[in-house]
Symmetry: C3
Subunit: 151 residues, 3 copies
């Protein structure tokens, strides 16, 4: 079995923001030299998601709008935000930025990762598919893990 693991660092700018990481994934698949196997694209964060969809601003804005309706930043009470205030500056670097809405959004998507087949060295995305790292909190330093296993 062949295995390759890479961490790619990101800096997000806002939320929701969908950052196209498809080229990163293609690079890791190429470097892995795996012909047949799977690639796992994994977010090690609790207020992000990995999503596959079309690269199109209209969709990104439509999706942001729906998330904001379902779990708005303002005008909805999040118990998690009380914790953020309690632990201010101590336990969590988000203390000054209540982010209860982003935990709930991450829960609703429940997509810490996406897995895509690799066949004959090719990433088997459909013609319109791109892989996005989805920031749900605010501008932050982030990591995306890209792992290929196969042979």
């Amino acid at each position: 079995m062949t295995h390759r693991f890479e961490n790619h660092d990101l800096v997000t700018e806002r939320a929701p923001q969908m950052i196209d990481v498809t080229d990163d994934v293609l690079d890791v698949v190429a470097r892995s030299e795996v012909q047949n196997g799977m690639v796992l694209v994994y977010s090690p964060h609790t207020t992000c998601a990995v999503v596959i969809n079309e690269l199109e601003d209209g969709f990104a804005d439509d999706f942001a709008e729906l998330l904001d309706e379902l779990a708005p930043v303002k005008g909805r009470y999040y118990r998690h935000d009380d914790l953020d205030v309690r632990t201010q500056g101590i336990e969590e670097d988000t203390a000054d930025f209540p982010n209860g809405h982003s935990h709930v959004r991450a829960g609703l998507l429940s997509s810490s990762s996406q897995t895509v087949p690799v066949v004959d060295g090719r990433l088997m995305l459909g013609p319109w598919q791109r892989i996005f790292f989805c920031e749900l909190d605010r501008s932050r330093r982030r990591k995306v893990f890209i792992q290929v296993i196969g042979e």
Copy 2:
């Protein structure tokens, strides 16, 4: 490592439609001769999902109803549909059929694939679980990728 990859073609009839592909998956697992590993059931489309749930018409209709409430076909504005009109007949075969709602629904489910363990040659679905290819757009020609890796 043993690897088997198959594409199965589908023609969907409507949306939302949940097509039970469990027997396809069982067939590919059997043909792979993998005893221990995983099967990845992957949709290469941006307006579909792969979902595991019970095969039961009442559930399918309940689920369709909720999706229609959250991201209705009519009565909600999707920026993506403007693009569809702009690119009519040129860039996307969906040009005549604005499908912003289906992109947003796919985003909300964020389930381009499902992965199920294979143990002793057996697909480890629970007794009530079936694997569905979920059409979120309209009647279209579709593909579902079924990949087994293991030994």
Copy 3:
């Protein structure tokens, strides 16, 4: 390729309930002796999910509240519940407990499993991430499958 599969039994107490199974996953990864590969945490149930998020009561309650708004137990009609009444005591052990809401919630999350990378023998969760078995129905006996593949 090395492979390890374990079933861990759970008894849930209520719904929604998020049971932290991270230590179970860490134990199986250690016993597998896999250095590089993936762990699949899989729910073989149609009214549960596997979710990765922060271990924090406020979040758990916020998430429960949103699920209850989107697919409430009471005050919404589920076609699936008619089936439950029709098959009472015969086909499904949930017959006395209409659970249409929990099927719809499971559909919305569409997270029968989560996959996490294993690198140098280490489970690559982020610092705030924990893996939860999420009960969406009621107190029930449940299983969670934990499978490691790699080498």
